[in-house]
Symmetry: C2
Subunit: 153 residues, 2 copies
Amino acid sequence: MEFTIKPIGFVRNARKEIDDDHWGTVVSEIELSKDMREASLQGIIDFSHLEIIFYFNRVSDNKIQQGARHPRNNKSFPEVGIFAQRGKNRPNKLGLTTVELLDHQGRTLIVKGLDAIDGTPIMDIKPVMKEFLPKGEVKQPDWSLSIMEKYWD
Amino acid sequence: MEFTIKPIGFVRNARKEIDDDHWGTVVSEIELSKDMREASLQGIIDFSHLEIIFYFNRVSDNKIQQGARHPRNNKSFPEVGIFAQRGKNRPNKLGLTTVELLDHQGRTLIVKGLDAIDGTPIMDIKPVMKEFLPKGEVKQPDWSLSIMEKYWD
């Protein structure tokens, strides 16, 4: 069973190379692909935040992790499964980040905090609704707190 | 430009038919596909919540919305673009929901609040980290509040 997905847009920003940290202030444009209609973004500016599903197109198939590994290959972190971390070398190569929507102009969105480099294909855009945020207290292990320390700096 | 994605798991639950509402108490199993390794879930129980990317495999290609429509085809709501709503008839047919992780047993996760019917293919599982939640106040239009009123009941 396989499915085909096509970019609905692309990222444009100043980040040309992959980097583990310092994504918080990055402002990106998301421009719709040619075969998408401008009306697909109608009313989006009434939302403050969006969830962006993108595709890690720079990950080679032979780098995809199928089991467990040390996050960021740092042996001071425990070995955890690829689905217990958010690293890019994952089956299906899908990335997911919540961004702040700054502006909408025609076929282009201006967003803040998208941790994807220039040229990254976008697979979906969904508005954030409070009712879809986690219910109850969010718990996470200590290694994930360490990893995130400088991520949004 | 096209990419191929394959299910990394499947949903098992008591919801056999698509329904707009009443998803909050649904408990689902997510079982890994045969070609996925059990180690891919190692350590996942240290997280309380997961983001599940799934595939709306029951949506026909000819039902996919490319522009704007009234959410739930309800004309009392404004027409908004498909990327300004979370409906299933969307390009690439990707769904996304944050669930509560109740248990992990071998190749199976038990989760609460997954709004996907029995048999739905799962494309990715990501742990929720507080640092990836929306920064600042979440704003959303009134129609989205109406739509969500009974969604999790």
